[in-house]
């Protein structure tokens, strides 16, 4: 029997039991839709994080943080607000000068002091991360450190403060509740004294940053406030810093690697040196784990669908015993009977997978729209789902594959039916 005839015959069997075929297909549709939605969202998320990372940290930068990690890739430990890791190792503000002398490939080194604290002005009082940075250098390293309202002075006053976008506009609706020139109290809880006490000073708002987005290491944050490094030094009473950003003259891998080694040597392996490249590969490995996990869960639902297909095919095989007997009496070969039953599963798998892919894609886009609308908080989460050809073809193949594999046994049983036995059944 010719292939189109086989498929035509399979199709006529499916058409007869539309509801049953539809319900069987539904299992495949749901499984495939889940896989496609989850993968296209995570891939979109990865793309958007990578994108923000690239925006937030240029390829010729390195981040140094306390934390003895020779590889500088795995197990990043980020000790926000302490300036020291558990071993008691500290990065000092004075280290920047030493780092700048390590290699001619190093353009500049920028220290960042980072503490949790509060800002208060009028009836506003909110928790923020306070960053002490050199405004001019910081703006050079991070293009996102630029004001949409007000200015970021190159030589700031001691009490100058720059606000992240959500500090000035907590409702994220374009209404800034703070105007340039306003005074606000900056406050932190000093736990080095006994008893711990609140330290505070009055700062004057000079600029508000544009919206940055949710991610980025060391870079400007929507919920951060920025004060001059020297102010932070005296306000927090410290000569250590939490992070040093090194800018290189170029982003060649060789340069990045050699400078990374020089820095590790200099600090005797007690720092973590993070390059955008390394971050990228950490991200990739995190995301491939997430994808494997989510995809795996969705794949299980598809296996459940497969068991459903098998169940239905066995029922259908029993119902159609006499039909199989007739086909065999007409001279149909065993392998053609097999092909007819497998053909039904291919049609169900193919249609289910295609509808599932479309459904999953729609679902991913709806999810992205909902996330972007900010209903669930978490900042403006610009996320464009990505459906790669690999995912598309993989989902298609998986849907058809699962259907066919679970149909193999019933189809095989149908093909092996003895004609006389099949014909006795009425």
């Amino acid at each position: 029997m010719k292939t189109p005839d086989i498929f035509g015959y399979s199709f006529s069997a499916i058409k007869l039991r539309k509801l049953r075929a539809g319900l069987t297909m539904l299992g495949v549709i749901i499984g495939i839709a889940a896989i496609v939605a989850l993968l296209s969202i995570t891939q979109g998320l990865q793309a958007s994080i990578t994108d923000q990372l690239n925006q937030g940290l240029s390829a010729n930068s390195l981040i140094i943080m306390p934390g003895g990690d020779t590889s500088g890739q795995e197990g990043l430990s980020i000790n926000v607000g302490s300036g020291a890791d558990s071993s008691g190792f500290n990065l000092y503000l004075s280290d920047t000068a030493e780092i700048e002398n390590l290699s001619p490939d190093i353009d500049s080194a920028l220290a960042i002091i980072q503490r949790s604290g509060y800002v208060a002005s009028g009836n506003i009082n909110r928790r923020v991360t306070i960053y002490g940075v050199d405004f001019a250098t910081y703006a050079q390293v991070y293009s996102t450190f630029s004001a949409v309202t007000g200015t970021i002075p190159t030589n700031p006053q001691e009490n100058t403060i720059i606000l992240g976008s959500r500090i000035a506009d907590p409702g994220r609706n374009g209404t800034q509740i703070i105007t340039i020139g306003d005074n606000m109290n900056v406050l932190w809880l000093n736990a080095t004294t006994r008893p711990p006490m609140n330290e505070t000073y009055a700062a004057q708002v000079s600029g508000v940053l544009g919206t940055v987005g949710g991610f980025g290491i060391g870079g400007p944050s929507d919920t951060g406030v920025y004060i001059p490094l020297s102010t932070a030094e005296s306000f927090f009473g410290t000569d250590t810093c939490d992070m040093i950003i090194v800018t290189l003259t170029n982003s060649d891998k060789a340069t990045v690697d050699s400078v990374t080694n020089l820095i590790q040597e200099h600090f005797a392996g007690q720092v973590a040196v993070i390059s955008p490249d390394a971050l990228q590969s950490v991200l990739e490995s995190i995301f491939s784990t997430i994808q494997l996990f989510l995809g795996g869960i969705a794949a299980i639902s598809l296996l459940v669908a497969g068991v459903g297909i098998m169940n239905i095919m066995i029922v259908s095989l029993i119902e159609r015993t006499r039909e199989i007997g007739i086909l065999k009496a007409l001279g149909m070969k065993n392998r053609t009977v097999l092909a007819i039953f497998l053909g039904e599963s291919v049609i169900i798998g193919l249609m289910g997978a295609l509808i599932g892919i479309i459904g999953g894609w729609v679902l991913a886009n709806v999810t992205a729209t909902v996330l972007a609308s900010g209903i669930f908080g978490g900042g403006n989460f610009a996320l464009t789902p990505v459906l790669t050809p690999t995912v598309f073809l993989g989902a298609l193949g998986f849907g058809v594959g699962v259907s066919v594999i679970f149909a193999l046994y019933p189809a095989w049983r149908a093909s092996k039916l003895k004609p006389v036995d099949a014909l006795r059944y009425a």
Binding site: M1, I326, L330, G331, M332
Partner: protein, 227 residues
């Protein structure tokens, strides 16, 4: 005249659990091309068992059965299927695929035999005209009477120009008037188209219309007479 079927000491034993049921106990039969044989006998005498063997739907337990010169005991599943393409089979009832129209049922036999697609249409119409159902080609079995269904089954059995036609109580399920129509068709096919026919029946009158009547009893042939 050449021999198309030759059965020598044919035996068929079914196992009902551990109890052997001897459905055929040594049958000898020779059928020539163009013949019209009726097999008569009470229920359970082994008529269907015999016909199933002649139709290569089953293999004998012992003995030799040559169909078109081939010993079917030696054939595998695939070769048996190919042999069945040369045999037209009509059962007592439920011959047709319920979801397919009369035309599609006939065409199905042709596509199983890989007959050239361009011939399907013309030949199907000819066959349905031969059995007098030209105006029912797009009807599904449920929309046809019992006699009409049997005639579609006969048209389908003829689709691949079989060497012979096997009919297992083709009129067992229809009223006497329809039975007559079907019998007339069978006679016409035999006389005018030269189709060899072996027909099982338990109706003495219909059996006598054949050229030769084989009487079966308890798995054996009791008599084999030319009418």
């Amino acid at each position: 005249m050449s021999t198309i079927i030759e059965a020598i000491d044919l035996k068929k034993t079914y196992m009902l659990g551990k109890i052997p049921v001897e459905a055929l106990r040594g049958v000898n039969l020779k059928v020539d091309t163009g013949d019209f044989i009726s097999i008569l006998g009470p229920s359970g005498s082994g008529k269907s068992t015999m016909l199933n063997l002649l139709g290569a739907l089953d293999k004998p337990t012992s003995g030799t059965l040559l169909i078109d010169g081939v010993d079917i005991s030696k054939l595998g599943d695939n070769q048996l299927s190919e042999l069945r393409l040369k045999i037209g089979f009509v059962f007592q009832f439920f011959n047709l695929i319920p979801r397919l129209t009369a035309k599609a049922n006939v065409e199905l036999a042709m596509s199983i035999a890989n007959m050239n697609r361009t011939e399907h249409n013309k030949r199907t119409l000819e066959l349905l005209e031969t059995v007098g159902l030209k105006d029912r080609i797009n009807h599904k079995p449920a929309e046809l009477s019992g006699g009409q269904q049997q005639r579609v089954a006969i048209a389908r059995a003829l689709a691949n120009n079989p060497k012979f036609l096997l009919l297992d109580e083709p009129t067992g399920n229809v009223d006497s008037k329809t039975a007559k129509e079907v019998m007339t068709l069978i006679h016409t096919l035999n006389k005018e188209n030269g189709v060899s026919i072996i027909m099982v029946t338990h109706d003495q009158k219909l059996a006598n219309e054949a050229r030769r009547t084989v009487q079966m009893f308890d798995g054996e042939i009791q008599s084999d007479t030319v009418n």
